[in-house]
Symmetry: C2
Subunit: 400 residues, 2 copies
Amino acid sequence: MSLNQLATHGHRLFVDVHTHVYLPRYASFLRSRTTAPRIFSRPNTDNADGTSEERLLILDNEPSGGRPVGPQYWDREEKLKFMDRHGIDVSIISSANPWLDFLPASTAHTLANELNEDLETYCSTSPTLTGLHNLKRLYGFGLLPLVPSAPISSLLETIDQISKLPHLRGIIMGTKGIGKGLDDDALEPVWEALAKTGLVVFLHPHYGVDSNAWGEKENGHVLPLALGFPFETTTAITRLILSGTFDRHPTLRILLAHSGGTLPLLSSRLASCIAHDPLVASRLQHDARHYLGNLYFDAVAYGAEELGFVSDVIGRAGAYEGKAGRKDADGKVGLDERRRVGSERMLFGTDHPFFPPLSETEKWMSVVENLDAIESVDGWTEKEKDAVRGGNALKLFGLS
Amino acid sequence: MSLNQLATHGHRLFVDVHTHVYLPRYASFLRSRTTAPRIFSRPNTDNADGTSEERLLILDNEPSGGRPVGPQYWDREEKLKFMDRHGIDVSIISSANPWLDFLPASTAHTLANELNEDLETYCSTSPTLTGLHNLKRLYGFGLLPLVPSAPISSLLETIDQISKLPHLRGIIMGTKGIGKGLDDDALEPVWEALAKTGLVVFLHPHYGVDSNAWGEKENGHVLPLALGFPFETTTAITRLILSGTFDRHPTLRILLAHSGGTLPLLSSRLASCIAHDPLVASRLQHDARHYLGNLYFDAVAYGAEELGFVSDVIGRAGAYEGKAGRKDADGKVGLDERRRVGSERMLFGTDHPFFPPLSETEKWMSVVENLDAIESVDGWTEKEKDAVRGGNALKLFGLS
């Protein structure tokens, strides 16, 4: 650890669990495509000097013809510079959406395997954190070929591949599964294998909701990103809870993007709706609120009140074991204790390289905001804040 | 006020602001229809004794062929019995969805006017609250003919009608406006008129989101109700915020169903997305979080942590005036103070007659849960709890 790092953090490391890359092989692949998702060049719209810019179009009919992309999306040096600028010691890198979702099964399988090897190399050849027992600065989440009609054997083989790559500590996953969502019975062997390996599953949105919901007003990417992403994550994890997956695999380790979308605010409403529906209620072993204690949440919510609340609902999960109502109803566990317990499942993230600042030398507002938010949560002591900034990640990913 | 009421509440009244009715005229109208929304009879599925039951089908392809309905959906005596059983002194009654959404404009106008008169009579002939200056036990939210192609003049006439009916204190509104949503420029005179009259606009979901999101597993009404409803409300109010409506009409009084859906948990993410989108950012006068301080939220969230959090984000709204970031960043207003300020815009509700209990003599779980939740919020004193249970509503609806 450098003197600078020591001075900045004391002995506490900052670990970013939500940080993306388009690996060079994947970026080249996107450049070769003529329909979304694709990367294409067009004359630079910011000036008329004849230069061109590359743009990434993730979805058809995306507002503004996609977004400008550059080296920060694929170049490892840019990632390390970003980390240094913000005092981030270790990053757990994941491929950015849309992953392999749009590919035929055999192409997806081959490309997943190649990209997993690429990411292993990207991480294993990254700098070592000075003085810290060969801890690298980069670790990764691998990819599964989760596409329609993917044979389950192909998914299980890839889980096996990833579990043997020492710098990959999890997988990133969208919400579609092999076409029918994550509550698809066909995925049961996949959850079983993931629970067995201990790989962390980073559940991340991509599709949002039907764009008719956003209306006709020009609002850029605001509605799909601010609302559609969290709705999608919430729906996916709720369907997974309702299918009994956590009853069958309580050791499954799922990390939810964007602090769980809106599940934290809807879990009591969900519990009430389930209680009024005997079919669903009889299928589950616990009150819906209990399952939030099985999950991990990144701390990418942009506000201290939000983070405090997320820790509140994780911290009460234990009181909702079984279906007999709240166990601590007569002597409710206090706010500070709930928040302490809940904080153990929350992990700092940045969402880099999305939401770049307007100037190249600035600190990224999204990072500053999320660090400020952690610093300002009511009820968290320095111990909880340190854990959210890095300690929890070191444990979860087996790095301590 | 009866001795019993005094004994139960001291001098504090319980006011239910989220409680629905299908007025007899409306129920008859639904019985005359052959496509959704409709009320139809079918043999009672709970026993084979040859009796029939009425079922309400709100949407086409609704799970389980709709839901059973009975007198509690239209009979005023049932409403009053429900209120007495739960110690509710006053209810502000609103028509239940889907209101008039499915009708041609002229029918909708006529029926709105008739139903508003019906509701006025329903309320004005309700019992007086003993000893309390002719306070009635029932007040109401009227209906506007908000249907595609409705002439704005028809909406303005109906606002005028409602504002002259002394027991109607607001209107209930879905999310579609006159077909293009609530951020439709054509609705500007409607917001202006509503702001001028001071009528409270109760914004309530009906459509949810595209049902493809719910997948193929049998989950009854759980997903559309637990997730779809809050997503719809969140989208509608966010679009209204983005359109600058609260900048133009800061005195508009909008009450959000189900504690604002998920807006409270997404407003910081929304602010961050807006900050990265110059077009939208330049359109608005304030940080997105500021607008939560313009809104009112029912306390129908089924959990104490949820209510505490909602009050937290309302209570911080003042610190986000303008676009220069958080004003109290260096000496953050404490949790108790934020929650005290926020509680002033939160109001008890039950969502009656939905979510009935299994036995007729039981207290309704949804009511008990929501009252328990209010009782258990960290940082709320008895004063705040009393205000949420009734005092805030008395003020908002001009009943004190």
